[in-house]
Amino acid sequence: MNAEELARIQFAITIGFHFFFPSISIGIGAIVLALETFRLRNLHGKAETYDRAAAFWTRFFALTFVVGVASGLVMEFQFGTNWAQFSTFVGDIFGAPLAAEGILAFFLESTFLGVLLFGRGRISSRVRWFAALMVCVGTLLSAVWILIANSWMQTPAGYEIIDGRARLTDFFAAAFNASFVPRYLHTVAAALTAGAFVALGASAWYVLKRKHLSVARAVLPVALITAFVGSAGMFATGDMSSKQVAATQPAKFAGIMAIYSTASGVPMTIWSLPPTQDSSNLPQGPELQVARLLSFMTFGDWNAPIQGLDAFPTQDWPPITMSFLAYHNMVLLGTLMLLVMAFGAYYLWQRSVFRRPFWLRAAVLATPLPIIAIQLGWATAEIGRQPWIVYGVMRTSTGISRIVPPEQIAISLVLLVGLYVLLGGLWIYLARKELGHGPAPAPDGVDDAALDELPRPEPALRPGTTAA
C-alpha cells in the first residue's frame, strides 16, 4: 500500500473510533443536565433519586469522555503528521476553528467535568448544576467548531487562493459555509439520540430485571423523550442536509444515490443490490423504489431533473458502492430507530411504558443502533466527498505529507490500532461492569416501593388497552 492509502486508512480508523465516544457523551451530557435540573427543582419530591441517577450517569459520562479525549488527541495532531500539505494549504482557515475549539469548548467541558466528578462535598447544589450545564454547553460548542472546520472541507467559502495557499477573506462566510448549519444540526441530533439510546437501553434493562427501579423509572422518560425527539430530528435535519448536498455537491449527491444519468422525475431507492462504480455491469436483482420521490424530496417538484454522474468527469466521481451503502443503511437504521421510539413515546403518553416488556426488550436491543448509524453517516459524508479533501479545490492525493515514508505510517497505524483495540475493549468491559453494577442503592428501600407500583394493571380507563 502507498502512503496515501495508509494515511487514509489511519484517518478513517482514528476518526471512526474517536467519534464513537463524543457522540455518546454529548447525549449523556444532556441527560445528566436534565437529571441535575430535576434534582435541583426536587421534581415530584424525588431529589434524592435524581441525585443518584445524575451521579451514576455522570460516572458513565466520564468513562466515555476520557476515551474520547484520549483518541481525540490523535485527531488534533494527525492533520500535521499525515496531511502536512493539506495543513499548509488550509491552515489559514481550518486552524482557527481548531484553536477556538480548545479555547471556547475543551477548557470548559474538561474543567467543569472535574468539578462535577470530584466536587461533591466541596461545592453547593447549585454550583453542581452549573457545572453540569457548562459540561453540556462545552460538548455542544466543541461540535460547533469541529463541524465548521469539517464543513468547510465540504463546501469551502470565504477564501481566495494566493501562492498555493487558501487565504481567509471573510470569516463569517467561511464559518457559516453552505453545509455547516444542516450538518451541525444533524450531527447534534444524532449525538443526542446516541446518548439517549444508551441511557434508555440501560434503564429498560433495569426495569425488565426489576433492578435499580427508582433510578430507572426516573431516567427512562427523560431518555425516551430525548431519543424520540432526536430520532425525529434526524429525519428533519437529514432532509436539510441532503437538499444542501444536492444543491452544492451534486457529484457527491449523484454518487450517494447512485444516479448515473441525468434525468427528471427520479425515483427514490429504498433498497437494492449494491451498485457498482461502472454502470455498464450493474447487478440485476430485486429493488424497492418509490417513483419520482427523490426529485420531490430534493427539489419539491415530482418532475425536477437531477444531475447524474454523467454530468461529471469520471475522475471526480466518489466511490459509489461505499457511499451508496453507507447512506442507505443509515436511513434504514434511522427508520427503525424512529419506529421503536414512536411506539415508546406512545406508550409513555399512555402511561403504560413500564408494562411493555416486548417494547422494553426492543429498546435494549436498539441501544447500539444510533452509534452504528452515526458511523455510516460519517462514512457517507466523507467517502462521498472523495476524491476531494477540500471539495472541488484540493484532491485528497495532494494533501498528504510528502516526506513521511509509508513504513512510518504503517508503524504508527499498527500502534494506534493496537491502542484502539485496547481502549475499545476496556471501555466495553468497564461500561458493562458499570451499567451492570448500576447506581447507588436507594436508602430506606425506596426501590421496593417502586417495584410495588410496577406490575399493577391500569384501571380500565381506556377500552381495549390491556397490560402486557
Binding site: L63, V66, V69, A70, G72, L73, V74, E76, F77, F79, G80, T81, N82, A84, Q85, S87, T88, V90, G91, D92, I93, G95, A96, L98, A99, A100, E101, G102, I103, L104, F106, F107, S110, T111, F112, G114, V115, L117, F118, R120, R122, R165, R167, L168, T169, F171, S401, R402, I403, V404, Q408, I411, S412, L415, L416, L419, L423, L426, L430, E434
Partner: protein, 341 residues
C-alpha cells in the same frame, strides 16, 4: 495588504503563552506520574497521587491541544513541518498520553493487584515518555533541522536523537519532576510529603545542572540563539529562571509549599521565555540545508490572525478565571472518598 508585524508577533507570543501554560500545568501532572512508582509506595498513596491531579489533569492537557491548534492556525507551515518531520516521535507522545489518560480513569475501577500495577506502570510510562520527548523536540528546534526546498523536514528519525536533543529531553523531564513534586507538597501530608520533598530537591538539582549544561552546550550547538542576548533586557528571562531555581530549595526546606510551587512555575516560564527570545523570529531554524521557517514567512493572513486574536482575547480571560476558581475549590491535601479514582 502589507502583513502586520504586530499581529504576527502577538501570535508568536500567544503560542508561547499556551506552551508555558501547558508546561506549568500539565507539567506537574507529568511530574506526578514520573514519581508514581517511587514517591508513592502503597496503594493508598498511589491513589492520593492520582487524585491530586484527578480534577484538573484533563483541563491541563487542553493547553497542549490549544497550543497545537493555535500553531496550526497561526503558522500552518510550521505545524505541518514539525509534526510530519517528527512523525514517529509525535506518535509515541500521543500513544503515551493516551495511556496516561486511561490509566487515571481505569486504575481504580478494579481491585485486583495485577490490574492496578499494570495501570500504575502505564501511568508512569505515559508520563515519562512525553516529558522526555517534548524536550527532545525542543532540542531539535533549538539546533535546527535540515529542511528541503519546500520547507519540509529532510532528515531521518535517528537524526532527531542527537546527544544535545537528548540532553534537552532530560532537562524537560527534570523540570517536570521538580514541578510535580512541588505540586505534591501542596496536596500530600506526612511521610508521603517528606518523600515528595526529597524528590523536589533532586528535581531542582537536576534541572539546574542540566539547564547550565544545555545552555553552555547551546553556544556550540545553536549559536544563533545567543544573538538576541546582545540586548540587556533579554537577560531578564534567564536571570528570573536562575533566581527562581535557586530560591526553590530554600522555600521547600522552609515548608513554604505554595511559594515553592510558584518558584518552580516561574522557573519553567522563564526558561521557556529564554528560549523564545533566542528563537525569534524563527519558529524552526534550518540546519545544514534549507531556509529557516520564520514568523513572517509562515504566518497566516492578517484577517485569520485578527479573527483568532479576538477569539483568544474573549475566551482566555474566562478560561483563566474558571481555572483559577476550580483550583481554589480543590485546594488543600487530597482526601480519598467514594468518588475518588
Amino acid at each position: 495588504m502589507a502583513d502586520n508585524g504586530f499581529l504576527q508577533a502577538a501570535w508568536f507570543f500567544l503560542v508561547g503563552v499556551l506552551l508555558v501554560g501547558y508546561a506549568i500545568l500539565d507539567g506537574f501532572d507529568l511530574g506526578v506520574g514520573m514519581q508514581h512508582m517511587t514517591t508513592a509506595r502503597t496503594d493508598e498513596e498511589r491513589r492520593i497521587l492520582m487524585n491530586s491531579i484527578g480534577p484538573v489533569w484533563d483541563g491541563n492537557e487542553v493547553w497542549l491541544i490549544t497550543a497545537g491548534g493555535a500553531l496550526f492556525a497561526a503558522f500552518p507551515k510550521v505545524y505541518a513541518t514539525v509534526f510530519s518531520g517528527f512523525y514517529l516521535a509525535l506518535m509515541l507522545v500521543l500513544a503515551a498520553l493516551i495511556l496516561r489518560a486511561i490509566s487515571l480513569e481505569f486504575r481504580s475501577k478494579e481491585r485486583g493487584r495485577g490490574w492496578r500495577t499494570t495501570w500504575d506502570l502505564a501511568f508512569f510510562v505515559g508520563s515519562v515518555l512525553p516529558a522526555v520527548l517534548f524536550g527532545v523536540a525542543i532540542g531539535n528546534i533549538m539546533r535546527g533541522v535540515p529542511l528541503d526546498g519546500q520547507g519540509d523536514y529532510a532528515g531521518t528519525f535517528i537524526g532527531l536523537l542527537s546527544p544535545f536533543a537528548l540532553a534537552v529531553g532530560l532537562l524537560s523531564a527534570a523540570m517536570f519532576l521538580m514541578q510535580g513534586a512541588a505540586w505534591l507538597l501542596l496536596k500530600t501530608e506526612g511521610a508521603l510529603q517528606a518523600r515528595a520533598r526529597r524528590t523536589a530537591l533532586v528535581g531542582q538539582v537536576a534541572t539546574l545542572v542540566l539547564w547550565v549544561v544545555v545552555t553552555t552546550w547551546s553556544r556550540a550547538e545553536a549559536p544563533a540563539l545567543w544573538d538576541r542576548f546582545g540586548l540587556i533586557p533579554a537577560w531578564l528571562a534567564p536571570v528570573i529562571a536562575v533566581l527562581a531555581l535557586v530560591a526553590f530549595p530554600v522555600l521547600v526546606r522552609r515548608g513554604r509549599a505554595a511559594s515553592a510551587f510558584a518558584a518552580s512555575s516561574a522557573a519553567i516560564a522563564a526558561m521557556i521565555a529564554t528560549l523564545g527570545i533566542g528563537l525569534w523570529p524563527n519558529l524552526l531554524p534550518a540546519r545544514d540545508q534549507g531556509a529557516s521557517l520564520t514568523v513572517p514567512l509562515t504566518a497566516s493572513s492578517d484577517l485569520a490572525l485578527t479573527a483568532m486574536l479576538i477569539i483568544a482575547l474573549l475566551g482566555l480571560p474566562f478560561v483563566l478565571a474558571y481555572t483559577f476558581w476550580v483550583y481554589r475549590i480543590f485546594r488543600g491535601p487530597v482526601r480519598l472518598d467514594e468518588h475518588s479514582y
